[in-house]
């Protein structure tokens, strides 16, 4: 097994950061002066610099554009036949029926017989961190050295030249959540990116999007660490591991809150030592980071929800969630989304009860449903994955419409990863993340003709100039041509 051969990092203590914590003897006055005149250097207090790897994303050049005459799925429950979508300066400015005003000078695209949807959002991707080619030297998705690696950030593992980004864009994917893998109880921070070609991951980072925290239930953590004769090696070991970490995080948060409160009042205060692991976990407790929890079984979901109550945080979404259909009532009550596939199941014990109608049944019971990929191929046709899940429901008379199912790959993932105020639906004011499909996007024959990100054309099926290729593929067989 790969993880067995991963050389264990020696348990070297972190190089001790010498903090200015020595007691002074100058009385309260002097201490006050100390605290107010000597703020910590930026890297020692997360609150001073919460965004140390800031986004440098700039939308690609765009022109005012109107798509006219296409059938529009807004992902707000509407289907508009033969409508109009207008984008200017990167934003959607109008979505309406035939006759909706088109600004003078706008590029007008004839959408007759075609369909328009919001850009597809893949809420569970490992593009860049497990890129293709899938070689050991680029296998950067799991820091399998400790069951709690909340200190690692997936963005630092992203290889921007992963050809998978280009393939996904050709499938209409405009936004992705890039997660660490599921080997650990706490896998690390997940990053939200805009799917544009970029030299750096900073150039892809979705401005203003919150971070996610990847957690994993079940078989993976206990298998990986159990096989190293470490904890966790059982389900109960998993749960003890989560709780211990949240206790530490709560304590850490308390110390920093106390320090900041005192420092704000100008009182003498000794700053706690910064800890990247606990920074991330306390970020969850502050409601700034969204929990994205790999969890297949209904009973495990119930445990995770109890832990969230015990420590005062909220699980944004259970990923994979093969048994979402069994847990629907609980998920609705707690307001937790599920992200699942159409019919990938049965590959291990915790996915044994996965059924094609999972998404459809959960949706009909009121659950916020997301269709995700966790895969560099499925991400290219999430529209069809959603279609298969929709058909499984319609096979048993659940009467799920296109207007319902489009939200599974647009508005709902946007909500679950925390960017619904910016993208995920076709509404005035939202980002111009838009896909023009050659036909009903739920058809097996559907292809994305044009993909817009922040109003800019980023992919065109008929124009080689808008079919970007990865550096890696130049000079190789196929040259990055995939269709």
């Amino acid at each position: 097994m790969g993880e067995l051969r991963v050389k264990r990092l020696c348990a070297a203590a972190l190089a001790a950061l010498v903090l200015c914590g020595c007691a002074t003897t100058g009385g309260e006055k002097a201490a006050k002066a100390d605290a107010s005149t000597k703020p910590l250097v930026m890297g020692l207090d997360a609150s001073l610099n919460p965004d140390p790897f800031p986004s440098t994303y700039k939308p690609l050049p765009s022109r005012p554009t109107a798509i006219v005459g296409a059938n529009i799925l807004t992902a707000t429950g509407q289907e508009i036949d033969g409508g109009v979508v207008v984008m200017t300066a990167g934003k959607i400015i109008a979505v309406g029926p035939s006759g909706t005003a088109v600004p003078q000078g706008a590029v007008v695209i004839d959408g007759t017989g075609k369909w328009v949807t919001p850009g597809v959002i893949d809420a569970h991707s490992h593009l860049g961190v497990y890129p293709t080619p899938a070689v050991q030297a680029r296998s950067d998705g799991n820091e399998m050295t400790d069951p709690n690696t909340a200190q690692v950030w997936a963005e630092h593992s992203i290889w921007p030249a992963d050809p998978g980004f280009n393939r996904a864009r050709a499938g209409g994917v405009t936004t992705l959540e890039i997660l660490p893998g599921s080997a650990n109880l706490f896998g690390g921070r997940a990053a939200i990116i805009k799917n544009v070609p970029s030299l750096t991951y900073q150039g892809m980072k979705f401005p203003g999007a919150p971070y996610g925290l990847k957690m994993a239930c079940g078989e993976n953590p206990k298998r990986v660490y159990g096989s190293m004769h470490r904890s966790p090696s059982t389900e109960m070991g998993n749960v003890a591991g989560y709780r211990k970490a949240w206790i530490d995080a709560a304590e850490y948060k308390r110390k920093w809150d106390e320090y900041h409160a005192k420092a704000a009042k100008g009182e003498k205060a000794e700053p706690p030592k910064r800890d990247l692991t606990l920074d991330t976990l306390s970020g969850v407790l502050r409601g700034e980071i969204l929990v994205q929890n790999h969890c297949y079984r209904a009973d495990e979901m119930a445990t995770m929800i109890d832990i969230s109550h015990e420590f005062g945080f909220h699980v944004a979404m259970f990923h994979h969630a093969s048994e979402g259909y069994k847990a629907a009532d609980m998920l609705v009550k707690e307001g937790v989304c599920i992200a699942t596939w159409a019919d990938w199941a049965n590959f291990k014990m915790e996915s044994l009860d996965g059924i094609e109608a999972n998404a459809a049944i959960a949706f009909k019971k009121g659950v916020c449903v997301v269709i995700h990929s966790d895969d560099e191929t499925i991400t290219q046709h999430l529209n069809q994955e959603a279609a298969i899940a929709m058909a499984a429901g319609n096979r048993i008379g659940l009467a799920i419409t296109r207007a319902d199912a489009i939200a599974w790959i647009t508005a709902n993932p946007a909500k679950a990863i925390g960017v619904l105020d910016k993208t995920g639906t076709l509404e005035a004011g939202k980002a111009g993340d838009v896909v023009l499909w050659n036909r009903d996007p739920f058809s097996v024959y559907a292809k994305a003709d044009k993909v817009f990100i922040d109003g800019a054309l980023t992919y065109d099926r008929f124009d080689p100039h808008y079919q970007p290729k990865s550096d890696f593929e130049l000079g190789q067989p196929g040259q990055g041509e995939f269709q």
Binding site: M1, G2, E3, R5, Y130, T132, P133, A134, V135, Q136, S139, G141, N142, M144, P163, G164, G181, S182, A183, E219, N220, R223, V224, Y325, K326, D343, W344, A345, N346, F347, K348, M349, I355, E356, A357, I361, D374, D375, E376, T377, Q380, H381, A387, I388, M390, A391, I396, F442, S443, V444, Y445, A446, F472, E473, Q476, P477, G478, E481, F482, Q483
Partner: protein, 447 residues
């Protein structure tokens, strides 16, 4: 045997027998014959004694026939899963449910490991699949197969690197019929020998080129052995790299009775393999073949069929840098016999029909795509006399669909295998229906 059990068995066998003996006329179907007869827009199909006895626009309906009015629904041959793990890998992550052998190599005959009770057979049948070729996988050839719990979505980080692999050969394939209640589902044993080249072959031989040389050496050994069996038995022969039973198992490949199914990916490996096959006078079937479009003419000239996953468009490894979505369309145009698979693993076997649809979206003609999941698998495995199309005399494997069978929005309305209508059930459907059940205060376990 308990009396109740005996009665059940009797009931089951009666059910199957009577169903097989049933005469059925499917009327007003849009019949996709996948034969020279093409599409019959409003046709009738007659099934009798397990065979198709008539198909056409104007067909006399036997007096005793049960008539099913298809009302314009699409009628196709049953889907033939051209290469699969069906019934030999119940749960990928549970090693004890895998049928494979590092010890037997070429001599491993998968027919002995087939599990007729697999819960996946009914599941797959409900996707319109009526036959499956079970093609064994060498223990080194399955992704993430290093321990009993490693059947993982790949993001758990499993890799194959450094796995000790012992043989290029995975063993002998077997054809399955997917009828309900059949204790012996194997209908085509020893249908092919399976071998790995490329990265998987390199895990045995050391590199791609070394794997080709090792394959050639194995075939030479087997040929040499067959000419001097008595010398071998008397201990008067040179030693061989392969065991006696492996060399015996390879004889049908050497004498052209069965094809060698080779999992191979790069254009370079494919070219070398075609040369080797010509020298050795063996028949090949290629699986994977992501770069086959670069070698289309040579594949057509040598009449070498290929089995491809039409979604493969990424440079997953250095051996598939040229993967393209139009591989199927380009191969068809070059004159190559193409079959389309879903994911090899059972969990996604039902997706072969959608992958055929994907091929259409990428340039393959509709009728060619339909053939790639029905008639072409039958041809590849030498079974087209009985299977793969709707024509008089063929086995009555028939599916009635509520629309285009390649579409995401459709499902089978009825599935017949050898003339017997199959029940609309599976473990997954039972789970589904249990949790759909209205809450009456009792746990779902009571439903």
């Amino acid at each position: 045997m308990s009396r109740a059990f005996a009665t059940l068995l009797l009931a089951a066998s009666t059910l199957v027998l009577s169903a097989s003996a049933e005469t059925v006329a499917i009327t007003h179907g849009k019949i996709e014959t996948v034969s020279a007869a093409g599409t019959i827009e409003d046709g009738t199909l007659v099934l009798k004694d397990g065979k198709i006895t008539a198909v056409g626009a104007h067909v006399a309906i036997p007096a005793n026939a049960r008539i099913i009015d298809a009302k314009g629904s699409v009628v196709t041959p049953g889907i033939f899963a051209v290469s699969s793990d069906l019934s030999v890998m119940e749960v990928e992550g549970v090693r004890n449910t895998h049928e494979e052998s590092s010890k037997l190599g070429a001599a491993f005959d998968v027919q002995y490991g087939v599990n007729p009770a697999s819960t996946l057979i009914p599941l797959v049948r409900q996707g319109g699949v009526t036959r499956a070729m079970v093609t064994p996988v060498a223990p080194h050839g399955r992704e993430g197969d290093q321990d009993e719990n490693a059947g993982e979505e790949y993001t758990a980080g499993d890799t194959n690197d450094g796995v000790n692999a012992s043989s290029l050969f995975a063993g002998l394939a077997a054809g399955l019929r997917l009828n309900v209640g059949v204790a012996e589902p194997v209908f085509a044993p020893k249908a092919a020998m399976v071998a790995d080249l490329g990265d998987d072959g390199a895990r045995v031989a050391g590199s791609h080129g070394a794997a080709l040389q090792l394959l050639k050496s194995a075939l030479d050994d087997a040929r040499f052995y067959a000419k001097r069996r008595s010398a071998y038995e008397n201990g008067q022969s040179r030693s061989f790299a392969l065991a006696r039973e492996e060399m015996e198992a390879l004889q049908p490949v050497l004498n052209g009775k069965i094809p060698l199914l080779v999992r191979v990916h790069s254009a370079g490996d494919i070219r070398q393999l075609l040369k080797l096959a010509k020298e050795e006078h063996i028949k090949l079937v290629l699986e994977g073949a992501e770069e086959a479009w670069l070698v289309g003419d040579a594949l057509a000239a040598s009449k070498t069929p290929v089995i491809i996953d039409t979604e493969a468009d990424l440079p997953q490894q250095f051996e598939t840098l040229g993967a393209r979505l139009d591989n199927a369309a380009r191969l068809q145009k070059a004159g190559v016999l193409v079959a389309i698979t879903g994911n090899h693993s059972t969990a996604m076997l039902r997706q072969a029909r959608f992958n055929a649809g994907t091929a259409v979206a990428n340039g393959l003609a509709y009728e060619d795509a339909l053939a790639a999941i029905t008639a072409n698998p039958a041809r590849i495995w030498g079974l087209s006399e009985h299977l793969g199309s709707l024509a008089p005399g063929k086995d009555a494997d028939v599916v009635i669909w509520n629309g285009d069978p390649l579409e995401t929005s459709t499902w089978p309305l009825a599935v017949f295998i050898a003339g017997a209508e199959q029940p609309d059930t599976s473990r997954a459907f039972q789970l589904r229906d249990r949790y759909l059940h209205a809450d009456d205060g009792l746990p779902p376990a009571y439903h």
